[in-house]
Symmetry: C2
Subunit: 344 residues, 2 copies
């Protein structure tokens, strides 16, 4: 067995020199290199943006969706939607582990979820067994390859598969909160009512301890109510984060002018950078998880008001993120119940 | 005198609730609020993107450029180019200081450069005296307002005005390097041959000390040669940062596989995020100054290869940045000479 590049460039067909994610086409032949893992795929969890685009283009016709998925994978060697550029995750059983990456914690037969995008994962589909329009999941017979740097999580026995997946999908967020938030801090979570926001709020409450303060800013009345009921924040504000001065006034009042040590932005609408900057204290930290974040709006916004804050680009990966996020479901019966109602 | 909002929202005409930078129109009447500074403007340093757009639309006709500048300021109350969205900086003499922001370090009569963008600065132009197509500078008779949070630098006596301006324009970059880089670190500067890159390389060399290593990655042979001559790096690599694997192999070789503690990205072309991520070691830091940085490419890129790095959005402001950058010109005769040839 030959050894491949840890990043998978040995499978890039075109353009040469690019990484698998930005490549147009990758090699999906299923003989593994000595630092790859072969997976018998059970289910593809298609990225929501991608699945919606395919459904729309097919008017929800199942045969058409099936053909579209087949043709993308045939053309590109991976399930990367050519319109949205996005992929998704997969669940499968480990079929073979290359000799150069034997790891005591992973064995042939283990059920895993890949935590890298399908937009860079070599995939071959033999047969599509079922397409679930409600959950964006596609059950298949087929195989996939995980590169040496590809991350994954073993699916736990004590948490239903779909619940685990829902949480693993955003595992980076609470894990980054855990790294940033210290006892006694004042922390704001903008968009705290969504899936990722709830996990971040839980982790922030745990980390700030009894002397700290967690403030959730939510647009939806319903989500705000839920956060209060679940006691995931000391204060909950219902407001529109695209209106920076309104948000600033409220946080300024609640914190008696001292503002926030850490601000976590989870809102998936554009234009919330300025609110994040205004409510963060001098030398504070802003963590942007939202994919709607504009690099230039953040950079010029902080400079424009002379605000000395550190602004971090959300990285969905950090060590131990899968375990930390699954543990939240083990620690909090309330969050587990909330998510079970929604995702199971 | 009434007191205004520190961020200048009291001067926003439309849309209400927005901040001056994102506002379409702001109030440029020249009676100051008690927390504003009035400036007699000498020269507008128009942002390069904005000035090029105006020149092009006017085919370099001076009368047309003059009229365009007048009409933008008349319509919007500020010199924010409606096409590019950008502004620039200005030089002027302090004419009046509001009673609520008296500061012993600033007096009426001082010559200052504003370090916030013209895209948010109330401006009134009486007369345009001269337009310099070569330097993007417009000498005027007119007035401007600086808000309470507006930052500025007093122009030093020992450094020519244009040289000081060239450096103040990118002052945030070396100042952030100073905050991040510690003795003994290995630091890469991608795009180290430009103005901002040279200042970052100088600061990095100073901070890493005798046990550290500074590597400059430059696309241009000529700039690379300059960096070597000026001894601004331990290693200089001529390569294209849009080719991630090529850059990775070279840095991997130079560092014997240990990669970089800190990577500074100064390249103003798109598609260099992945190279930055690959050459940075696990738990290392990447600082993106380039306005061509894509938030999503950085976020998904790191996650896609399971790389636990902290990625920071470049903030052009940090405390003491003006003084630090001007001091580089005082400390390094070589850099001063290089910049004098280019900007004076």
């Amino acid at each position: 067995m030959e050894k491949g590049c840890p990043y998978g460039t040995h499978r890039v067909i075109e353009p040469k020199g690019s990484l698998p994610q930005s490549a147009y086409k990758i090699d999906n032949s299923m003989e593994i290199f000595s630092n790859e893992i072969l997976i018998d795929v059970l289910t593809l969890n298609v990225d929501s943006a991608s699945f919606t685009q395919i459904r729309d283009s097919c008017n929800d016709d199942i045969k058409c969706i099936e053909q579209t998925i087949f043709s993308i994978v045939k053309e590109r060697g991976k399930l990367q939607n050519p319109v949205t550029g996005s992929g998704g995750m997969l669940i499968g059983i480990v079929a073979e582990i290359g000799k150069d990456i034997q790891d005591k914690n992973l064995n042939v037969g283990d059920k895993i979820a890949t935590l890298v995008s399908l937009s860079l994962t070599p995939l071959k589909i033999e047969r599509i067994k079922n397409i679930n329009l409600g959950t964006d999941q596609v059950d298949i017979e087929g195989k996939a390859i995980l590169f040496e740097t590809g991350i994954y999580a073993k699916l736990p026995d004590d948490i239903p598969e779909k619940l685990a997946l829902a949480v693993l999908d955003v595992a980076g967020a609470p894990a980054q909160v855990n790294k940033l938030v210290k006892p006694g801090m004042t922390v704001s979570i903008i968009g705290g009512g969504g899936k990722s926001g709830v996990l971040c709020a839980y982790q922030a409450m745990k980390n700030v301890g009894k002397d700290g303060k967690v403030i959730v800013i939510e647009y939806s009345e319903e989500n705000a109510k839920k956060i209060k009921e679940l006691e995931l924040a000391h204060e909950v504000i219902v407001a529109d984060a695209t209106k920076p001065m309104e948000i600033y006034q409220k946080i300024n009042d609640i914190t008696n002018g001292s503002l926030c040590d850490v601000t976590i932005n989870n809102v998936n609408v554009p234009g919330t950078e300025m609110a994040s900057i205004l409510i963060t204290k001098d030398e504070g930290i802003i963590y942007f998880f939202s994919m709607a974040t504009s690099f230039t709006r953040a950079a010029l916004g902080a400079e424009g008001i002379g605000k000395d804050v550190m602004m971090i680009i959300g990285n969905g990966y950090t060590k131990g993120h899968a375990e930390l996020s699954l543990n939240i479901l083990r620690e909090s019966q309330k969050i587990r119940k909330l998510f079970e109602e929604k995702y199971c």
